[in-house]
Amino acid sequence: MTHQDELAIEVKGLVKRFGDVTAVDGIDLDIRRGECVGLLGPNGAGKTTTVEILEGLQTATSGEVRLLGLRWETDAPVLRERIGMTLQETRLVDQLTVEEMVRLFTSFYPRPLEVEALIGLVQLGEKRHARVGKLSGGQKQRLALALGLAGDPDVLFLDEPTTGLDPQSRRALWDVVAQLKARGRTVVLTTHYMDEAEVLCDRLVIIDRGRVIARGTPRDIITSLGAEQVIELEAEPSPELERLRPLPSVVAAQRHAGRITLRVRELHLALPEVLREVAAGGGQLLHLSTRRPTLDDVFIDMTGRSLRESAEEKAA
């Protein structure tokens, strides 16, 4: 098998401009077959634009895109048969039933999955004869996923598949992605949720302002922080960050809305010193917790902003 064949997606120097605005500013991606790759980043980072260019829904200003060794400019009909997707917030046909909607989509593909199997896969068996308009938000999103899988795609794109979903629907979606991976399918998803990215993705690409700012396995990216643990504390009065940074084993200190986040290499060295510092300032401890670092810490470290905040901005 040649190198070309192993890559499901190959992107070089991808740029997309809308007038004066540069949404994607030189992104490179190499995604192997059978991999699940997550694109992470705040709202407006360029994730959706990138994914829609990969899906053939937008054209790039410049750069090269290859999917399964094919190009949109020359092989669009074949590519459409071999990819599947969910878009953000698609309004399906309210008057159709779940089964009718799935059957319609399977009719577009040369080698579709069985309608029954698709409905079962997303756990909508009981809702088979329900009108799409009567489904809950999570059920609609699961249906959208079934439609994305209708053609038994080699590459599946999921654009924020679980934003605003109930836990059951989220779990159902995670299960489906796990099954796809097991069958050697390639999955590309965008998400705001760190836990989702950590559970589902073999590799992550973190995007901010149209550029890739980090990439690697979730483990590698977290390790790149150089910290093994995170201490979060609130105190009154709050100690100076300048006094905390030189303490033993402390890698970085940041303040967010009165709460101090310290990333440390070794908890048993840092914690006593931190507490001593709080006490020395005559402060009262209001909150103290320690945890392992998450991708959100990585994001804050690199951009000064929290991914969760950008997700909340979007929801608001």
Binding site: Q58, I83, L87, R91, L92, L96, E100, L104, S107, G151
Partner: protein, 341 residues
């Protein structure tokens, strides 16, 4: 089942499961026709209303006019009589004098009748039974009444508005909800997507034509001189043509408000000039070539020709060509310029 079949099924299900679509397609045209048909029932003309201005000779003139059954004469003061003439409430005002003067409004059709009747009445020395020169026999044959003229026009109008609104509205809603974008990302053949809209529309139009014919026949006794088969073909051609125009109207618009304006822009002028409520021949002759090139004129003229004159398909070549052009060109434009995202 293949994609085209599934797409047509989708369209039919969308239409049949929306009560408002059924209402506007079937109930509304019937209610309109019922209302208009009753309002414009072929009442025979009433007497022509004339007034004699107050003055010394007025009673003598009145005496002569009162003997004519087709005239309804009264005495009124001149100023108010002139005013009522201008408003069309009177057809003629007679000013007494050595030679009585008749005032008429040249734009009023009844003015001419009134003048002839008044002249005749005044010329006769006495009210005597004149030997009848011509014997008048009132006729009321089906096919000559206003409602007979109206029904085919309303069918054309109904086919136009339901095609335009239903097709354009649905496409724009799908664009707004990103479903068009989602479909564009599948291997679905785009020509099949448009074709499914046309076929589903044709199916509905079939029902529409049957429904319309049935109630026109039973409620108003509108005659059918041609064949129902030809009428159905003409109706289908019209529905397909307006479905294609509906697609064209919806090629770019993103909101239902925007597309609503466009639908009105297309349909309102045709509603007035294409002979729905009155014959398009009333418009100036320089406008006639334009009017004849409009799809609604083509379908209305054809429907009337079939229903009221028994025309066959062979004699409808010209209007069918107009409809074909208005079907093919919009679809080609749509395939090229349709906005899927």
């Amino acid at each position: 089942m293949n994609a085209l079949g599934q797409l047509v099924l989708m369209r039919l299900r969308m239409l049949m499961r929306q009560p408002e679509v059924l209402f506007w397609t079937f109930i509304f045209p019937v209610v309109t026709s019922l209302f208009l048909g009753l309002a414009f029932r072929n009442d025979s003309l009433g007497p022509v209303r004339v007034a004699v201005a107050e003055g010394p000779g007025a009673p003598a003139l009145m005496a002569k006019l009162e003997g004519v059954p087709e005239l309804s004469a009264e005495v009124a003061d001149e100023a108010s009589a002139r005013r009522r003439l201008a408003r069309g409430q009177l057809s003629l005002v007679l000013l007494p004098g050595a030679v009585p003067e008749a005032l008429v409004d040249p734009s009023q059709a009844a003015g001419r009748t009134a003048r002839l009747l008044v002249e005749q009445a005044l010329a006769a020395p006495e009210v005597t039974a004149r030997p009848a020169v011509v014997k008048a026999t009132p006729v009321s044959e089906p096919g000559n009444r206003y409602v007979d003229f109206l029904i085919p026009g309303l069918l054309g109008l109904s086919l136009m508005s339901s095609s335009l609104w239903v097709v354009a509205g649905s496409l724009v809603a799908m664009r707004g909800g990103k479903l068009l974008k989602r479909l564009a990302a599948t291997p679905m053949r785009r020509s099949q997507f448009f074709l499914s809209y046309m076929l589903a529309r044709a199916g509905f139009a079939l029902a529409e034509v049957f429904f319309f014919c049935a109630f026109a026949r039973w409620l108003f006794g509108v005659p059918m001189f041609g064949s129902y088969f030809t009428l159905t073909l003409v109706g289908l051609a019209g529905a397909l043509c307006f479905a294609a125009l509906g697609v064209l109207v919806a090629i770019r618009a993103r909101t239902e408000e925007a597309v609503g304006g466009l639908v009105n822009l297309v349909s309102l002028p045709m509603m007035f000039v294409s002979g729905v409520f009155f014959a398009s021949g009333n418009f100036p002759s320089w406008l006639q070539p334009v009017i004849r090139a409009l799809p609604l004129t083509a379908i209305n003229d054809s429907l009337r020709a079939v229903m009221l004159e028994g025309a066959g398909l062979a004699s409808l070549g010209a209007p069918m060509l107009v409809l074909a052009a208005w079907t093919v060109v919009p679809l080609l434009l749509a395939l090229r310029w349709f906005r899927w995202t």
